[in-house]
Amino acid sequence: MALIEIEREEAVEEKEREPVRVTGLPFFPHFLLREVVVMCLIAGSLILLASLYPAGLLQPADPFTTPTPIYPEWYFLYVFGFLKFWTYDIGPIPAKVIGVTVPMVLWYGLLILVPFIDRNPSTELRKRKIAVALGVIALIAVLVLTYYGIVHGE
């Protein structure tokens, strides 16, 4: 840790020594140095987590005993949550098909199309209120659906 602190201070000092007119810092050593510091922190955290909370192993797979409750992986919980939440048929389309298609196909389709839908060239948060609002709504929706998926585990 002390070493990392020293490295950080060095990085700051070196940055300050750069002439003002230079807007970018060279990839090596400035950018790489910061990356190395972060990498050490991440690798350390991973080893710590792995030691404190080892990967689990439950009973051997048994197709005849369903464990309760069962959840999918946390990053699919929002899909699972939406499937549990959406129980309405729309015309001839059954609820289950909507429940699967919206968070998987439609959601990823929308994500892919983001840069082609949002043609506003500004990167200022204030000048792209609609995009920011939609982003916040989508983020909250995914979090709420994830929570819904946890509560309604099978």
Partner: protein, 229 residues
């Protein structure tokens, strides 16, 4: 005496450099990479670390995954026992598998947070549209990695989480049935599924992610990091 040794080391280093420079023109190749400027705010803002964090996790996953593949046996009869063996008997096996587990979850979280940063900073805008698309495919690849790795220990969680997952994928209209058939390899999750998930996890997805990462980094290299202030 010490000075003399240093001189010898320097000349050896210079000799190696010259040998390589004669053959690969290092003098022309390296400076643009080494001196390539990164915007100041990119160096100081920790939010710009998320992509690099995901990549570090990827490297850790490759190394620990190779180790696990040495001991893991992808059949329903042997899989659980081999994982148990890794966890109890193999030296450092438990640590390596646990690091693989945590690096996988951290990588998915980092990729998602990286995407959220790119969205709110508007870094996907012209000229970087295609790199956003590649990024979404990377997100898909990474989650599929996690999904396919979940089945491999062949414990209760593995089996039943995969049942939910393949069930959800199977309900997608038109293509769902095919996806489910390709993944499961039959009517029920069994030996066929296991072999397929193993092949997907250690052959197909690694090839996909290396290609996508190559494109992702190449585009960043050509276009530079979007330096929003």
């Amino acid at each position: 005496m010490r000075e003399q040794r240093e001189v010898i080391i320097m000349t050896l280093y210079e000799k190696i450099y010259k040998w390589l420079d004669d053959r690969f023109k290092l003098g022309e190749l390296l400076p643009p990479i080494v001196k390539h400027p990164a915007p100041v705010n990119v160096v100081s803002n920790p939010l710009y670390c998320l992509g690099g964090t995901a990549f570090l996790c990827f490297l850790i996953l490759v190394v620990t995954g190779m180790f696990l593949a040495f001991y893991y046996k992808p059949t329903p009869d042997e899989a659980y026992k081999s994982v148990q063996n890794i966890m109890t008997a193999v030296p450092l096996g438990s640590l390596i598998r646990s690091i693989h587990h945590w690096a996988a979850n951290t990588m998915i979280a980092a990729v998602m947070l990286h995407m959220i940063r790119i969205y709110f900073m508007g870094a996907y805008k012209k000229p970087r549209e295609l790199n956003w698309v590649v990024g979404i495919f990377l997100l898909l690849t990474v989650t599929t990695f996690g999904f396919s790795g979940y089945l491999l220990p062949w414990d209760q969680l593995a089996l039943w989480a995969t049942k939910i997952g393949t069930g959800i994928a199977g309900s997608i209209p038109i293509i769902g049935g095919y996806i489910s058939l390709i993944l499961v390899g039959g009517n029920d999750i069994g030996a066929e599924t296991m072999t397929r998930f193993f092949a997907i996890h250690v052959l197909i997805l690694p090839a996909a992610i290396i290609t996508l990462l190559g494109l992702h980094f190449l585009m960043v290299r050509i276009q530079g990091i979007s330096g929003r202030l």
